[in-house]
């Protein structure tokens, strides 16, 4: 990121290739495909504009997903200004053609169960699975304490387990 901030466009491309799929899926797990594409592009645009403000003392992924989290919250607030974060994400099967990959039954069931989790629990699973962020980094992104993240994660795992036992 520092190289890109210094004017190296090729450095951005390497960074983009490394993070783009995970970021795209992060949005796909929370919104419909059309919105996911828009939010995905917005985050990169914001990152391009804010490149001078990047500090190397924080992992790039944590910085990227903090921007993504904020953009997601903005999106929800605009869509439903009087509601809190949505309790459920869209159904995995309703995401549009890009996401209609050929999942086997297990994968489909997992994504469906994930979509039924409260957003803040779902986000923890996605951030862990996609970027292996630590509980502290996730807590920082969500703006809560580490113990809150642990608690949310416990609930999320329990619900996912139940979904597979049903």
């Amino acid at each position: 990121m520092l190289a890109y901030a210094g004017g190296d466009a090729a450095a951005f491309e390497r960074l983009y290739r490394r993070h783009k799929d995970a970021l795209y899926r992060y949005f796909l797990r929370h919104v419909e495909a059309a919105d996911a594409g828009e939010l995905f592009q917005d985050v990169w645009q914001k990152l391009i504009q804010a490149r001078g403000g990047y500090r190397s003392d924080a992992p790039f992924a944590a910085w990227l997903y903090r921007i993504a989290h904020n953009r997601l919250v903005d999106h929800w607030r605009r869509a439903r200004p009087h509601d809190e974060l949505p309790a459920d994400a869209v159904d995995a099967d309703a995401r549009g053609p890009e996401s209609q990959v050929e999942h086997d039954d297990t994968a489909r069931r997992l994504l469906a169960a994930l979509a039924r989790l409260p957003a803040e629990q779902r986000e923890i699973i996605v951030l862990r699975e996609e970027r292996n962020l630590t509980l502290e980094q996730i807590a920082d992104i969500q703006g809560v304490g580490r113990e809150t993240v642990k608690s949310r994660l416990r609930y999320a795992l329990a619900k996912l387990r139940e979904a597979f036992h049903d």
């Binding site: 901030a5 983009y16 391009i48 999942h103 699975e129 996609e130 139940e162």
Partner: protein, 312 residues
């Protein structure tokens, strides 16, 4: 349905497994999560990134902006501080000097002529020491003539510039560069009968100080004022390269510019605006009255006075 809150130990074990990568959810997620952004999104983002780099100005070293700001602050504060600290003493000193010299001139004139105006000035009882000095006209005249010649050689441009302001401000605005000149001129014209207007008197306070006395201080101030102006200009132009070089630069000062800046140093100088061809600096007296403006421009060697405009 199992309540996660009532199944603590099991959940703790499950959490540990998950964090250690042993939970089945992780394997299932890796299997399920294979979506990638469409190619058009990739192209759009990469194009935006390239455009961002192309549109950005050449990146400057991070230390330069704070350094420039700090340098400007230091110079600006020192300038303001010095102007504040020195304006009053210099002004007082100038007033005393002017008063003394006016009395001396009046005495000399009264001895040489019977002009009513000169007698009027002489009526302002001079101190005994001054009167004693005035009682030796030949030696003093010779010294004044010598000073006049010396000052003429030292600062002809200042004399010409300040003579221009003198035409606007009246006789009280004597040329700054030459005390001797004013003495010589005093012999060729009658001493002023009516006191000058307050503005004109204040404007004229600094110039009569002998250049030889004012130059060291004026040069110091000129360098500070000039350095500050130049820094402001460089900051305005965001010319970091020149700015960094400038920090070690030594600005030259001609005697003429020194005389003019001495005039400015005796009063308050403030930057008014930037014009096409330079900067406009406003000059005020100790009471805050506008006395005029100096227009100057930044040149590679420092700065150059373009015009000096007394307030109307």
């Amino acid at each position: 349905m199992t309540d996660a809150r009532t199944d603590g130990p099991k959940n703790d074990r499950e959490l540990e497994d998950y964090l250690a990568g042993r939970h089945p959810v992780s394997a299932r997620y890796r299997e399920a999560a294979r979506e990638t952004p469409p190619p058009e999104l990739d192209a759009a983002v990469l194009a935006a990134a390239r455009a961002g780099v192309a549109a950005a100005p050449k990146r400057r070293a991070r230390w330069r902006v704070p350094l420039a700001a700090a340098a400007t602050m230091v110079l600006g504060v020192s300038l303001v501080s010095q102007l504040r600290d020195e304006a009053v003493p210099v002004l007082n000193e100038d007033r005393a000097t002017v008063a003394r010299k006016a009395r001396e001139t009046a005495i000399v004139e009264s001895l040489a002529t019977t002009d009513q105006a000169a007698r009027g000035m002489a009526a302002e009882a001079p101190p005994p020491s001054v009167a004693a000095q005035a009682a030796q006209p030949p030696a003093r005249e010779a010294r004044k003539a010598e000073e006049a010649e010396s000052a003429k050689r030292a600062a002809p441009p200042a004399a010409s510039v300040l003579e221009r302001q003198g035409t606007v401000l009246g006789e009280a605005a004597a040329p700054a560069a030459s005390d001797g000149q004013s003495a010589l001129a005093a012999r060729e014209r009658p001493a002023p009968v009516a006191p000058a207007a307050p503005e004109a008197r204040a404007f004229a306070l600094a110039p009569p100080v002998p250049l030889s006395d004012s130059v060291p201080q004026a040069v110091t101030l000129e360098r500070r004022v000039g350095a500050t102006r130049e820094l402001l200009a460089l900051l305005q132009a965001q010319d970091a390269e020149r700015l960094s070089r400038h920090l070690d630069a030594r600005l030259p000062a001609t005697a003429a510019e020194a005389a003019i800046m001495h005039f400015a140093s005796a009063h308050a100088a403030r930057l008014l605006d930037r014009q096409d061809d330079g900067w406009r600096v406003g000059i005020q007296d100790a009471a805050g009255r506008d006395l005029g403006t100096i227009r100057l421009r930044i040149i590679p060697a420092g700065w150059q006075i373009l015009a000096l405009s007394p307030a109307s």
